[in-house]
Subunit: 187 residues, 4 copies
DNA sequence: GATGAATGAGAATTCATTCAT
DNA sequence: GATGAATGAATTCTCATTCAT
């Protein structure tokens, strides 16, 4: 049997995504996780601590995923392509985590501190963007705008894929998608 | 003195944006709106009816705003530019409405029916996109992907502007932003 | 039917005396008072506010009782006798209030502010004590010691009377009791 | 390192005095005593057993202290003086115990059985009072009234000393205090 | 003896909603 | 239309106690 703490975290993730934070009673989390309510509060002092822990613990996994197989000797475009594929593959294979991030990253339930730690999520991409601007490959615009727009575009593509997950294996389709992402950025 | 019903709607919008739906008690809305709790429920049978009404009543304003000054005889790019400027100007001048839409458009508090009505928000843009594809001006990709990506890119740009509202008057900046939006779409 | 707020206060007084503060759930107070739990919290924001209100509202009654029929032209001893009889009569006829004061005056449930207001309880007696010292009738000792000791002696006598309430009508007995009280004080 | 059982008792005494019985969780006692929660329940089957044990174990010490140096051949007044000094000295040097007794002697947490055992506390004094009445030295009043009043007066004096502990070494002051105590009793 | 994770009944408090005025 | 006291189910959190290690 899995660790009870872990079981609570996984159940909470699922239920928060399905119902929302406030619409998910701690009693429901405990019940579905197969533990007593007291156990939940034994591991997480408050409901808020639970969601913040959830945010931070799952963030790690995502960061790892995004940078996988990005090789230093690749061209910039290749690096972006790899990150792009990492991102959409991760989203498709971890839909709950993906929904969790899009719903809660900017919600008031996640404390400012936690959110700031979580922002490192796109640190890798930010570095790539800066590198591209310095080498005159990407658009010469304020880096902040570039970051926000890149993220928005990626989110849009991901949204579509979440609703049409079969497309993830259609290489022609994903390459078209990547070309949209790339065109936003390239100078 | 303003109509009490209207006062309730405006207060609710503000508080829902600030605190979230579930974290905003109806008693707080009533108090801040300067009416009795009974009055709120006199005008809106339930709290859900209140937020759905809010969604629909404010949607109208947005739709009007997006299509303003889009002339039939303009080039497609000009039309897109106009819609783009309409969208970012509206967001900057109605930040609460903008936050309200980004928070609640896909939340479970908005009933499916209401949401579908609201989707007409981007109906204009969808028509433009189709027109552009038919004329080989835009990328030849599934229309759904194009819609989602366009919306994502626009949201990203808007996010940035919401945090740097002074840029809205910097024409060079907004043109750079538009070029990102346009590059996503154009073939 | 009595005012619900008043009904809650009276029920709470009785139950706090019987069971103690922490051993009296608000649900029990509400039930016994014949109101919904929500009603209790409608009138008193917290359980602590309830007990503090109780303390202050009942204090008034006591203060009035202690100074009844104390005439300016009486001798000092007569004044003390009158206050003494007022005190023991009040205790016997309001046993719940009396128990409430002896249990909660120095408990942590009563906030410091509330307690200080309540200390005015013995203000009358304090004035009489000072007067007696100035006229060389009472012991020439620190006033603080005199106050505390007088209160202790009176409490002791009251304790005995609470357990033998029939004695209250035995004038010979009460005069003996008063002589103990007086002997503590007189020089 | 001290015995864990003893450590628990001492910590509990301190915390019960500071916060009250119900406001002191067993978990807090265990934590502050540096033991596991299980350990507390290994030594005391229930929380009630803990406080009752506390009451009885510390009572012994007090009883010993009160009768110290009371010699058979002394005059009655000398005996009372000795007991009086023993009482106030003990209170000053064991403030937590003193508070514990004044708070819990008559509380419902101490079982009737325990309380009765504890009443022996004033057994010595009761014997002296009876002796004094038989010899026509003390007031000829019901013994119960005498006991309660004597205890009340002593408590009053002790209360004052607890807040002005420096006075304990002022012999003139303590003799004045004793004279109040004595005047209550003597015929 | 000692540990501390696990338990679940029970506590204070909240809040959408009703209804008599 | 407007009011706000009253409602009670639902929620978060507490805490004495158990038990496997």
């Amino acid at each position: 049997m899995k660790d009870k703490r872990q079981q609570i975290l996984e159940t909470a993730l699922k239920l928060f995504v399905e119902n929302g934070f406030h619409a998910t009673p701690t009693s429901m989390i405990a019940k579905e996780a197969g533990v007593a309510t007291g156990t939940l509060f034994h591991h997480f002092k408050t409901k808020e601590e639970l969601i913040n822990t959830l945010y931070l613990e799952t963030k790690e996994i995502l960061i790892q995923a995004l940078t996988k197989q990005v090789n230093e000797q690749d061209t910039l475009k290749s690096k972006f392509r790899q990150v792009f594929y990492n991102a959409i593959n991760w989203a498709i294979s971890h839909p709950d985590h993906q929904f969790f991030y899009s719903q809660y990253s900017y919600s008031p339930f996640i404390s400012t501190l936690t959110r700031e730690l979580g922002l490192q999520r796109f640190h890798v991409i930010q570095e790539l963007l800066k590198e591209g601007q310095e080498n005159d490959i990407l658009k010469a615009i304020p880096i902040g705008l570039m970051i926000d727009t890149a993220q928005g575009t990626l989110d849009g593509i991901t949204n579509y894929l979440m609703e049409h997950p079969e497309k993830i294996d259609d290489r022609e389709f994903t390459e078209q998608a990547f070309s949209m992402f790339w065109d936003v950025l390239k100078g």
